[in-house]
């Protein structure tokens, strides 16, 4: 038997290109279903974990998918903001209410304005430095810090809100006070700041020199004993420092400050059900369980997985049929070799064992290659998908 295996190995080595192509075909046939299945399991687990830690999402009355994924994954969506007063209204009955504002970006990373409740709830801590608290502070997620090559003490500038809108607020400079410990969630790829800083980035809040110090006509459009009305030409501060920090002020009713959404967490499922019913009944407001929306989305995932599985099965069957055909034709082509083996006194089954051993070796090599490709595929999937 050892001799047959040696002959089979030598036969494969004699045709390296053909052997490699056959092994690759088998490998790809194995890798595809393994990779897709493993990835989908990971996606499923990640989505469910994120949804479970975000029981109720409250926001404007828009598509439930837009609302949930803008809240869970900070995805951009065409959504009107909800007023800050909604957070006060929602926080009755001892619920934990976490406000979020995700309107601006920093180097294309979402700038997430929130408060300490978010970090406590998601168990986020600073690996270096601290969490943001002062106006102009920012803490960067682990992946975002790596991608932007920034650390504690560096500064980053918010992206211009709209390149064509001359009246839009100017980008502001944020001081990095912390780099967050990695969590393996979308939080790693975001820049976190306080709500006032998020509002500052979108121009709801601004700072400038004392209004009374302005004299020119282009800066002052009206003046009374109590007030000085400034024009839009007044230069606002883009950098927040110890000297100008106190000069920042809101230009909106505090109750109407914009929020993207709220995360509401109750002590018990009953608390959450009551809160859900109460908040969803508010005019123009949508409250929903993120888990239900994710489940709905995962049904689509399952359908896609079924399609993948069917395609993979067809692929395996086709590859198998091709392999059988190739080995059959090879056996026909190697008829002289078979005769020679018999002529030199080998057993009747030896040629069959030889071809079977070659096939087994191809399958084994293809299987190992397939598992390797699958592992590599899963490891590279994140980068590949982000690149896509």
């Amino acid at each position: 038997m050892r001799g047959v295996l040696w002959l089979a190995w030598r036969a494969l080595c004699a045709r390296p290109l053909v052997s490699a192509i056959l092994a690759l075909c088998v490998g790809v046939s194995v890798a595809l279903p393994l990779t897709s299945s493993s990835l989908l399991e990971k996606f499923d687990a990640a989505l469910r974990a994120r949804a479970e830690s975000t029981p109720i999402v409250v926001g404007p009355d828009v598509s439930r998918f837009d609302l949930v994924f803008a809240t869970l994954y900070f995805r951009e969506a065409e959504m009107e903001p909800v007023p800050k007063s909604l957070a006060d209204d929602a926080s009755r009955d001892g619920l934990l209410v976490i406000p979020l504002r995700t309107h601006s970006t920093v180097r294309s990373k979402p700038l997430v304005g929130t408060d300490d409740g978010y970090y406590e709830h998601r168990l986020i801590s600073a690996a270096q430095g601290e969490l943001p608290f002062f106006l102009g502070d920012a803490s960067v997620g682990a992946s975002a810090a790596r991608a932007m090559r920034v650390g504690v003490g560096d500064t980053i500038v918010t992206d211009p809100p709209d390149g064509l809108n001359l009246a839009a607020s100017s980008p502001i400079e944020l001081r990095i006070v912390g780099v967050l410990a990695p969590t393996g969630t979308p939080d790693d790829d975001a820049v976190f700041t306080t709500l006032p800083t998020a509002w500052l980035a979108e121009g709801v809040l601004h700072g400038h020199d004392d209004a009374r110090s302005f004299e020119g006509e282009e800066d002052v459009i009206g003046r009374t004993d109590e007030y000085t009305a400034l024009s839009g030409a007044v230069r606002t501060f883009r950098r927040i420092d110890e000297d100008n920090r106190a000069s920042f002020h809101f230009h909106a009713n505090p109750d109407e400050l914009p929020l993207t959404a709220l995360i509401v967490v109750g002590d018990t499922p009953k608390d959450e059900t009551i809160a859900l019913a109460r908040l969803d009944a508010l005019r123009g407001i949508r409250a929903l369980r993120s888990g239900e929306v994710v489940d709905e989305l995962l049904l689509t995932v399952l359908r896609i997985k079924s399609a993948f599985d069917t395609i993979a099965l067809l692929f395996i069957v086709t590859t198998g049929a091709l392999l059988v055909l190739i080995f059959w034709l090879t056996a026909r082509l190697r008829a002289a070799e078979t005769r020679t083996i018999r002529d030199i006194g080998a057993a009747r089954w030896t040629p069959f064992l030889l071809f079977a051993s070659e096939g087994g070796m191809i399958l084994f090599a293809g299987g190992v290659l397939g598992v390797g490709l699958a592992l590599l595929g899963v490891a590279l999937a994140e980068r590949l998908l982000i690149w896509l």
Binding site: Y73, L123, F133, A167, T183, V234
Partner: protein, 285 residues
């Protein structure tokens, strides 16, 4: 279906990574602390807190000011962040606090107890900057100076502190004297003019039906006389750092009685001032 697929792809971008290290929750402070942003308010809160709760006062030099001229230090900001509760006067006099990332569920504004019943000092609507047209409404700060509102605020404070387990067991004993002072102010004196350097005195003045003139510190007594001539009161109550001698001299020859009330430096001196005010009003009955 196509939208869902697109959504799915975008969501999966962020979903496919594994946790690398188990995160830990931010460290909780060991002792419960309540930060109060107004010394006057600290006088009320301090009487209601449980003995194991520490109180810190973090306030600008002039807690009534609406000017954007003060911000806490990083050390003070950390204290605010670590506090179990931050109690503030509200009514727009604590704009500096709005610039910090204070958790809304730990921030208690006592003005919320009377938010539909605050005295508007001035309002203005104008436009500048990218945010367009906007309004500024300035409320008189420290609504607890009015007995009616004060009692409501005390009740609200008591409920809030009790709900968070920060209240002392002898809550009523602490609040009783305060209620007595507030109740003693339930008088009426429409022929009184209150002249104060503090806009918060709109509240006690309104409580007794008196008219009010808010002046700047060191105002020339002649201007007080102008106010008196306009209001034609029987008595003038001067509150705060005003030149009582000068006002008396300026009003010499008129029948207007001048009563001066000092405001001390102590957190609770405003209660003494209120008592003195009530006494003056009672004496005029």
């Amino acid at each position: 279906m196509a939208v869902r697929l697109l959504l799915l792809v975008t969501v999966l971008l962020g979903a496919c990574s594994e946790a690398q290290t188990p995160p830990t929750a931010p460290r909780a402070p060991t002792q419960r602390t309540v930060v109060v942003t107004d010394p006057q308010l600290a006088c009320l809160v301090g009487r209601m807190l449980a003995s194991d709760v520490r109180m810190e006062i973090i306030a600008p030099p002039d807690p009534e000011s609406h000017d954007h001229t003060w911000a806490p230090t990083r050390e003070q900001a950390r204290m605010i962040r670590d506090a179990t509760m931050v109690v503030t006067g509200g009514a727009g006099a604590d704009g500096w606090l709005d610039l910090l990332g204070v958790r809304s569920d730990r921030l208690e504004r006592v003005s919320d107890a009377v938010k539909d019943d605050l005295i508007v000092v001035s309002s203005d609507s104008h436009s500048h900057g990218a945010s367009g047209s906007h309004s500024h409404v300035v409320y008189a700060p420290r609504p607890w100076l009015d007995p009616r509102r004060g009692v409501r605020i005390l009740g609200w404070l008591s409920d809030t502190l009790t709900h968070e387990g920060l209240s002392a067991d002898n809550d009523e004993r602490a609040m009783g004297p305060l209620r007595d002072i507030f109740v003693s102010l339930r008088l009426e004196s429409t022929d009184t003019l209150v002249v104060s350097t503090s806009a918060s005195w709109h509240y006690p003045a309104e409580a007794v039906g008196a008219s009010v003139a808010i002046v700047e510190q060191g105002t020339d007594p002649v201007w007080v006389r102008v106010e008196v001539n306009a209001a034609q009161p029987k008595r003038v109550v001067l509150v705060g750092d005003l030149d009582a001698q000068g006002v008396r001299a300026a009003l010499e020859g008129s029948s207007v009685e001048v009563i001066a009330i000092e405001m001390g430096e102590d957190e609770c001196s405003w209660l003494d001032a209120l008592e003195a005010f009530a006494k003056a009003i009672r004496a005029s009955e």
